[in-house]
């Protein structure tokens, strides 16, 4: 079963980021990273900010996704994310500044505030972006 290929679609509100046949996908799920190969059980999960990697056309593609959802089933993987960008295009300096700004907001607001939650999500995304861009993110798989 593992040699079956998968149809992967990555869609953000702005555009369809990727659509094509892949052999394996690793995505950040609600309970940490999960890997998908052909013949995976039908599965729906939340996607948290983090790295999305898959093999397509003989090389590994590395992306970073924001929060969203993923649906797996019948040889298809569908990732719906707030945002998604290729790791090589990330501006690390900008990401560091975003992280600093988010951490500042978190310090200034109560953990129950909407602003705190938003900042926390922004911080996680910034960390994921920095890790992906600098190659520091060792995949748990």
């Amino acid at each position: 079963m593992a040699d079956q290929s998968l149809q992967l679609d990555v869609i953000t509100p702005e555009r369809q980021v990727f659509s094509g046949e892949v052999s394996a996908v690793i995505a950040p799920g609600a309970r940490g990273q999960f890997g998908v190969l052909g013949g995976h059980v039908r599965y729906v999960t939340e996607v948290h900010p983090g790295p999305l990697t898959f093999d397509h056309g003989g090389r590994t593609h590395r992306y970073v996704v924001g929060g969203g959802f993923a649906q797996v089933g019948d040889g298809r993987v569908m990732v719906l994310a707030d945002r998604c960008e290729e790791a090589s295009t990330i501006d690390v300096e900008q990401a560091r500044r975003d992280m600093a700004a988010a951490e500042k907001t978190m310090l200034e607001s109560l953990p129950t505030d909407r602003a705190y939650l938003d900042a926390q999500a922004a911080q996680r995304l910034a960390i994921a972006r920095i890790q992906a861009a600098t190659g520091a993110a060792a995949s748990p798989h």
């Binding site: 679609d9 869609i11 953000t12 509100p13 702005e14 555009r15 369809q16 799920g29 609600a30 309970r31 999960f34 059980v41 039908r42 599965y43 729906v44 999960t45 939340e46 969203g68 959802f69 649906q71 089933g73 569908m78 719906l80």
Partner: protein
């Protein structure tokens, strides 16, 4: 008979009007192009999100979730209406506003327990319309900035959710123009709350549905998906509205330019006739003057 000078002046003024309508048409065409690109590139996401949401709803007991459960007695309803700030876009606002007007009255007629139907308006045109007709205005948002549509959609989603849960409203509707093509916009009224599964039965076979694995679990996914789905749905409505506005303005300005051309043609004919009449009159005067000698 109008004097030659007066006709010439009118032709000039119609010409300058035509220049403006032509320019507005071009600007709207360019803006519409960008807006339609935004709509069409956002549609797959909205569509997939909708599919995921509907398939999840099909497996959820709608009495379990406060946003899905309908209220037994509907006393207060609100209609969110998207209109434009500026006019000169044909029947774009008018057709939607009339539809909302009728919708509100029908609700009130049909259901005696309904005490209050308010309207929450985006755009000056809608505000003016409902003010004139003494509707119960809830909140008005004007001077809309196209770059901030996502923000509007998000804050509207949050506000509606909070107020629905707080019991401010028992039903929430959204009225906007769906962008069908540059020439046609379809006024639409959709129910936002309570959410309902659209034709949930034919999404897929029940035994197939049951094999999905959810992480963290079904309820948590639904809680996370609901607000996002709402954002996307509202954002999509704003995008459709925007593309529709420019499309409507473009076709309105196109027919205005065409009308101006017709008026110019008619006036030119009138001008030439008057000119010819004056020449003929002068000739007759000269000839009869010569004969008299």
């Amino acid at each position: 008979m109008a004097t030659l000078k007066a006709i010439r002046k009118r032709i000039q003024s119609v010409k300058s009007t035509q220049q403006i309508t032509k320019a507005m048409k071009m600007v709207s065409a360019a803006k519409m192009k960008r807006a339609t690109d935004a709509v069409t590139s956002a549609r797959p996401y909205a569509l997939k999100m909708g599919e995921m949401f509907q398939s999840l709803l099909a497996r959820t007991d709608d009495r379990e979730h406060p946003l899905l459960r309908g209220r037994d007695v509907v006393k207060k309803a609100v209609v969110v209406v998207l209109t434009t700030d500026r006019g000169l876009c044909g029947g774009f606002n008018g057709q939607l506003l009339r539809k909302v007007d009728r919708f509100v009255w029908e609700r009130k007629e049909l259901r005696s327990e309904l005490e209050q139907v308010r309207v929450l308006v985006y755009g000056k045109k809608g505000r003016d319309y409902f003010r004139r007709r003494n509707f119960d205005l809830d909140r008005v948002e004007t001077d809309l900035d196209a770059k901030r549509y996502f923000e509007y959609a998000q804050s509207l989603g949050r506000e509606l959710t909070q107020r629905y849960l707080a019991g401010d409203f028992d039903e929430v509707y959204l009225a906007y123009n769906v962008f069908a093509s540059a020439l046609t916009q379809r006024p639409t009224i959709e129910r936002i709350f309570p959410f309902t599964a659209e034709a949930a039965a034919d999404v897929a076979e029940p035994e197939v549905l049951s094999t999905f694995v959810y992480e963290p679990d079904q309820a948590a996914i639904l809680d996370a998906l609901l607000p996002r789905y709402l954002d996307v749905k509202l954002f999509q409505a704003f995008l459709e509205h925007q593309a529709g506005e420019h499309g409507a303005r473009m076709s309105a300005m196109d027919s205005a330019s065409r009308n101006a051309r017709e008026v110019i043609n008619r006036l030119t004919l009138q001008y030439n006739r008057a000119r010819q009449a004056a020449i003929t009159k002068e000739l007759v005067e000269i000839v009869s003057g010569a004969e008299a000698l």
